[in-house]
């Protein structure tokens, strides 16, 4: 766009220098606050008239420590992700994948699924855009599975709350499931199970928009916009998740946890998936629960299966996709992805 002078000046916000100074200052403040969370939460807990080592005291301490921690992590991750993703777009991703019919289209699609910004409300136009550009159905699925499954919010919180080892395992297996499930689905020749109107659709005209040039400040603004939007939307799920985590941490006896979610109980893995799919929350809400479960001795495989099915498979998403996929295809999709999650769960319970 050409720059013109506007007589009616709309408020444009801060000047550029304020961004170059403000963002590093905010990062330093973030770092300092993050470092003071333990003393702060211990102090705040001591204000409650309950013994620190009682059930209630443990639950309160967990809650007070986790709420600022998760919100800080969430803000940081969403900001950084928002800035990084401003270099990607569904249009660019489609252009990359459209020419890619080789086997490594699947891992490539999964990687782009993690980096491409898209909200679940536009998954239908995105799906059609991909399929009509000749991207194979299986590759499209790899993209759609990886997006939520190995999203940066989930990984970052897992890293911050549970540790890098488990975050890495989650990344590797989540990515593998997205790749392999897409490949398997692609091999099954499922095109006939798309809704009729999608199959009949002639390739829509590819949007020939002029590429918008973004300055670094534009990208930083996108990051802040994302924080406002996402943190504004998920904070309630975060509080609910931490509340449940705190209750588990404070009140659930370890013997009971071992009996229900321990490695000996083979049925706990499928049970975790069955419980996880209809649970509608997001990564930010489920990871505090995961933290409390692991802490109480739940088996890693069972917990991974639970977390993956909550994050990657959600009923509202299926209902949105119902516009383009027949029920039969949705069922096959669910079955294949669940199989991958079950395999991961059993593997880790068996290994550890």
């Amino acid at each position: 766009m050409t720059t013109e002078t506007h007589e009616h000046h709309a408020p444009r916000g801060l000047p550029d220098w304020a961004w170059y100074v403000g963002v590093p200052v905010a990062a330093v403040v973030w770092w300092l606050v993050y470092g003071q969370l333990i003393p702060f939460s211990e102090w705040a807990t001591s204000l409650f008239p309950v013994a620190r080592d009682s059930h209630t005291g443990e639950a309160i301490a967990f809650f007070i420590y986790d709420v600022p921690k998760v919100l800080l992590l969430l803000t940081g991750i969403v900001f950084v992700t928002g800035v990084l993703r401003s270099w990607f777009s569904p249009e660019k991703t489609r252009a990359i994948l459209a020419g890619e019919n080789q086997i490594w289209g699947y891992p490539l699609a999964a990687a782009l699924g993690v980096m491409t910004p898209f909200c679940s409300c536009s998954s239908v136009p995105l799906f059609i855009g991909f399929v009509s550009a000749g991207i194979p159905l299986g590759v499209t699925f790899s993209f759609l599975i990886a997006g939520p499954m190995v999203g940066p919010v989930g990984l970052g919180l897992l890293y911050g709350l549970v540790g890098w080892q488990i975050a890495t395992i989650y990344l590797v297996f989540g990515f593998t499931i997205a790749t392999v499930a897409g490949f398997v689905l692609g091999r099954m020749g499922l095109e006939r199970y798309l809704q009729d109107w999608v199959r009949e659709l002639n390739a829509g005209p590819i949007g020939d928009m002029p590429e918008e040039r973004l300055t670094l400040v534009d990208r930083l603004k996108i990051g802040v916009e994302q924080v406002r939007e996402i943190v504004g939307k998920v904070w309630i799920w975060v509080l609910i998740g931490i509340g449940i985590g705190a209750a588990i941490h404070g009140y659930v006896p370890e013997e009971m946890m071992l009996r229900i979610m321990g490695g000996e109980a083979w049925w706990s893995v499928p049970a975790a998936v069955v419980v996880g799919v209809p649970m509608y929350t997001n990564a930010a809400g489920v990871i505090p629960i995961v933290e409390a479960l692991l802490d109480k001795g739940a088996a890693l495989g069972t917990t991974l299966a639970f977390m993956m099915s909550v994050i990657a498979l959600s009923l509202p998403e299926m209902i949105i996709l119902k516009q383009v996929l027949t029920l039969r295809l949705i069922a096959i999709f669910l079955a294949v992805v669940s199989a991958g999650i079950l395999a991961t769960g059993f593997l880790f319970n068996f290994l550890l």
Partner: protein, 78 residues
């Protein structure tokens, strides 16, 4: 008279975009009709993959996220 179409299934950002278009146009005194396209099929057929999308007189000029206020003015004036 310009015809502006806002593509989006009805999420919050799509509604905000529509409001932005209307307000900007009336502030600049530009005569526009704003049409909202909410049907997934029509959105996809227009080549929009990430919503909200905006087209002016049949030409797609933006997709994904809220439009920048300054750029929106430019599109409406052009």
């Amino acid at each position: 008279m310009k015809t502006v179409k806002v593509y989006g299934p009805g999420c919050k950002r799509c509604e905000t975009t529509e409001t932005m278009v209307r307000e900007t146009a009336s502030r600049l005194g530009i005569d526009v009709t704003v049409e909202k396209v909410t049907d997934a099929k029509s959105i996809a057929m227009a080549g929009v993959m990430s919503t909200p999308g905006i087209s002016v007189d049949g030409k797609l000029i933006h997709s994904g996220g809220l439009p920048d206020a300054g750029k929106l003015e430019g599109w409406l004036r052009a």
